[in-house]
Every structure is written in structure tokens, then in C-alpha cells.
Symmetry: C2
Subunit: 141 residues, 2 copies
């Protein structure tokens, strides 16, 4: 087990800031410190299938961080809902790298929950916005 | 204004059942009766951009219903979280039609909120799971 930074996030926004900081640093421990300590967490990466549970979510980030270049994020918030213990942030990620042309913006739903150890992520659902010219994989909805 | 069925959904699951019933019937009024009556609702259709607000969400469903054939849904629940007023369902949709070959499963985050008129949808985020052989639109994350 890698040692985890036991940070306490006092607001959903603090957790979100830590999420993107971990993403930019490609730091799996920092990333997993943002996620809730329970196995009903779930994560959908662009064009990926739903990944559930801490072990699988960790593996998925390790694989992404291994394969991704240095990135910069521009995050635009599109909608935010919060009640006592759950917060939903719908955002658009515009990702830039030094070497690659700009990619399509990524549409994201981030969900946080207030746990005993502060606000933690429970869902990250990311999908590319790109209307293909000629759809090669049929999508009906 | 079309007349709306003023159904009250007593649980998130009742709202979800009504959501897929409206989807199968391609009934925009029934669909919008599932969504919360406020403009922070948001919807991401597969490969689409975030759509926010009732008017835009309604338009998006009208456009989908106009262009889609008769469909059958098989829904597999992958994770469910609920606190007092917000419920998060992460599900996989397998969609079948009479005329088309099976499409890639759709990965979905559905979020419901307890409002004065019962449980209503506030977020629907759907994305196709398909790892393209050769990515034509670069996605970095």
C-alpha cells in the first residue's frame, strides 16, 4: 500500500481542485486520496466502460497516467447542485498538451459525497464531445 | 405548452422506470415530466456536449426521438448511492432495435433529486463504450 496523503477536503470544490491537481501531476496516490473509501465508487473514462470499486478505479488511473503526456486543463463549470451530503458538478474539460493538437472537449459529471473524512469523489463520468462525420460505431441514443 | 402528466415519483427507481418508459415510447412530454422543474438540469447524450436547462434538454430529446427507431432497453445497474435528497444510479444500457445490429453498450450516470413534486431527474450523462481501433478524434483522458 502506498502511503496516502490524508487530506481533508472541506468543500466539494476543494476535492475537485485536488482531483485536477492529481490528474495534472499524474499522481495515483493523490488521485485515490480524493476518492471515497468505499467500493461503490465508479468511474467512466472517455469511450470506456464503467469501472467500479477502488482497486479497479486505481488501476484505470494508473493506466491513464502511464500513457498520457503532460497536460493542462481548462475547466468550465456548466452546472452545480448540492444538498447536505452530495454535490454534483457538471463541467467541461479542455485539455491541452505541449505536443498534441487540441482535442475535443470532454464532458464530465463529477459527484462528491460528504464522508467521515471530508468531501470525497464517488463518481467521475467523462465522455468526448465529437459528432463523428460518419459514425463507425452505431449509437442509438 | 403541452399538457404534462403530473405524476409523482415516490422513489428514484420509480422516476428511472418512467424515464426509460418515456424513452421507449419516444414521448417528449412523458420524458420532461421525469426531469426536475428547474434550469440547472443537465444532459449529455452519447458523443454530445452538455445540454443545460429545460428548453434545451427538451429540444435534445425531441431531436433524438425524431431520429430513432423503435428500441428495447436492457438496463444493468452498476452502482447506486442515495442520501436524503439525491440519488445516483450508474447503469449500463444495452439497446436493441428490430432492424439494426446490437450497438455498443451505453454507460450512464442518472441523478435524481427529491423535489416538492417527488423524485425527479437532474442529470443524465450517457456515453458509448467503444474503444476505437484507430482513434480519429484524440482523447487525452
Amino acid at each position: 500500500m502506498a502511503s496516502m496523503t490524508e487530506k481533508r477536503f472541506h468543500t466539494p470544490r476543494e476535492a475537485e481542485t485536488a482531483f485536477y491537481a492529481a490528474f495534472i501531476k499524474r499522481d495515483v496516490d493523490a488521485m485515490m486520496a480524493v476518492w471515497a473509501e468505499n467500493d461503490s465508487i465508479s468511474c467512466v473514462h472517455p469511450l470506456g466502460k464503467i469501472v467500479t470499486g477502488r482497486a479497479a478505479v486505481r488501476d484505470s488511473w494508473e493506466s491513464i497516467f502511464r500513457n498520457s503526456p503532460e497536460m493542462q486543463f481548462m475547466i468550465t463549470e456548466r452546472s452545480r447542485t448540492q444538498n447536505g451530503e452530495i454535490a454534483v458538478h457538471v463541467v467541461e474539460e479542455n485539455i491541452r498538451t505541449k505536443s498534441e493538437p487540441p482535442s475535443a472537449p470532454v464532458q464530465v459529471t463529477n459527484i462528491y459525497r460528504l464522508t467521515e473524512t471530508g468531501w470525497r469523489m464517488i463518481v467521475h463520468h467523462a465522455s468526448p464531445a465529437s459528432q463523428p462525420q460518419k459514425p463507425e460505431s452505431k449509437t442509438l441514443h
